[in-house]
Symmetry: C2
Subunit: 345 residues, 2 copies
């Protein structure tokens, strides 16, 4: 029997083996040209900051689990990671975030106008890489993969709109269901659903059913994002790489905040709702929100909730991968269920 920390290290080592294959592919695809200083150099900034590589690993392992050579999914995996970086650049602008993967955000470095433009370029690049890699797939599967990719983008933009709209308009009458819908859209779709479905399509030449895989992906994505929220509030800055409590400052409606609000007494609730209506939360507001979350045990609640979702994901995994053509590849995916809730970054 191994400890949780040992398991996390082992899973990170597995992710690292996928990163070691996908990052050179991304690097190879990063275009060069003019203007270098204002476009092509800053374009490489986020892709060169080491991420977890979770999305690439899910895509390639799903391909292999369905009997494919996971090399066939390498281009799609690279495209998904580039798309992730495109989202991060625009996200950071939209949220006014200051830190990303331990360094200043791109718009802090380059200013909003150039960073916005670089985010656009990363999005086009992700399409270029996906299209180039889809040529080897045959017309039907290539088209299905592109459809999955654009669907994931639409869902992500819908999720972003929801989160930004709640914040802009001071919406606070939200339930756990609202939060889970938000997570499904803004995070799970491109983090777990699209990578797993695309890997499955490629590995099975479009033949494998996607229903069970999708159910598993939805739960895995929710467990991932719930943990991300907890780490944002309670993690260690050096490991996490973003500003701690950035979510509070940005007025994000996390499950913790909704839990604390639901359990607050009326005067507390009124004060916090008023604070959330003010744009650009000041330090005092952040402290107030953190205190409320603390007093109502909302971090522990969210952690437990994440573990419950992870348990459901583990059960869904068994349904989805019972007949895996390559059990070791399926095991890589199964192991990520524990990893996403136990990780510290």
């Amino acid at each position: 029997m191994t400890s949780v920390a040992t398991d996390v290290h082992r899973h990170e080592a597995v992710l690292a083996t996928y990163r070691a294959r996908v990052w050179p592919e991304i690097e190879r695809r990063l275009p060069t040209g003019r203007p270098a200083r204002w476009l092509y150099e800053p374009l490489a900034d986020y892709p060169r900051r080491p991420g977890k590589g979770l999305r690439a690993a899910l895509c390639m392992a799903a391909c292999a689990a369905h009997g494919g050579d996971d090399e066939a999914a390498l281009g799609a995996a690279a495209a998904i990671e580039i798309l992730h970086n495109a989202f991060l650049v625009h996200d950071d602008i939209e949220d006014g975030s200051q830190w990303r993967r331990g360094e200043p955000t791109l718009h802090e470095r380059e200013g909003v106008p150039l960073a916005l433009n670089v985010g656009d370029a990363l999005a086009v690049l992700s399409f270029d890489v996906l299209r180039a890699s889809s040529r080897h797939l045959g017309r039907r599967v290539g088209r299905l993969v592109l459809d999955e990719f654009t669907t994931a983008i639409w869902r992500t933009l819908e999720g972003q709109a929801l989160e930004l709209g709640w914040r802009r308009d001071g919406v606070t009458d939200l339930t756990a269901d609202d939060y889970l819908e938000l997570v499904l859209l803004k995070s799970s779709w491109y983090t777990t659903i699209a990578p797993l479905r695309i890997g499955t399509l490629i590995g099975s030449d479009g033949e494998a059913p996607l229903r069970h895989i999708t159910r598993f992906a939805v739960l895995l994505g929710a467990a991932f994002q719930l943990t991300d929220d907890v780490l944002n509030l309670a993690g260690h800055r050096a490991a996490y790489g973003k500003e701690i409590a950035g979510d509070l400052r940005e007025g994000k409606r996390t499950l913790m905040l909704l839990h604390a609000l639901a359990n607050a007494d009326e005067p507390e609730r009124a004060a916090v709702v008023a604070a959330l209506h003010r744009a650009g939360a000041a330090d005092a507001t952040v402290a107030q929100l953190a205190d409320l979350i603390d007093r109502h045990g909302s971090v522990d609640f969210a952690r437990e909730f994440a573990r419950g979702v992870a348990d459901a994901a583990a059960a869904a995994f068994d349904d989805a991968f019972a007949d895996a053509a390559q059990p070791p590849a399926a095991a890589v995916i199964g192991d990520l269920v524990t990893y996403v809730v136990e990780r510290n970054r």
Copy 2:
């Protein structure tokens, strides 16, 4: 013999016939869904503000001029106009513009975060529309059209980066050649080059040579943008739909500004260069720049320059469309040469 004003009205009537066919196609393609208020409703805002429809007309007329049914280029024309709207949304954020087509810009209405997200959505929509319309084209031509489309996006983003970089870093040692390269990248590529090349590819089933068409498109695009710059400074706000002298406020390096700088004496030049180094030009700076441009006759210089480029475009048109399969369609394109320099909006 007709007057210039009559000609402009006639050309606008021709453009209106294309708009009347393309706008319903765009409208039909605008997605609906949730969240409506924060994504799908604002997404329709710019596409529903009447534009000139120049890009769509060029694409469809080029298709017909090469013997195709211009209906085959309708989807591509719609995709190009949607892409144009996507660029406008992000452009307006990057430039801090306040007016677009006679109404407040999208980020003035919705705030920067939601507007940025809507711009992303319009870009994905343009791909969706292009992909859907390319299915009727056969695999080879469909692929060529998608390649043209993504190439145009890359060039546009390079042009944006150049313009934003010059402004951010206070670059002022620029020549007319620098300006013309900027225009080629940021404006001509998606306004004239891609529409004409894509229309030609569709109309000729990928068979027509593109060299002469491209040369014509480069010149037409330059004449168009030069005139746009003149209208920005000297146009009538009601007709033009943007804030007059917005370019000066945004510190844009137009040919007029470069001409005035080149003709200024040293103290004048130093004062203006210092002003251009300050971000967010104040009213005093705008007045100073306008005065300099006025005193050196730079607006007339730019108008003459635009007419010279238009003359070259007219000559290039004869090379490109001498053997047009459908001369009336070619004539629509030829007539636009006068239109782009004589228009008042």
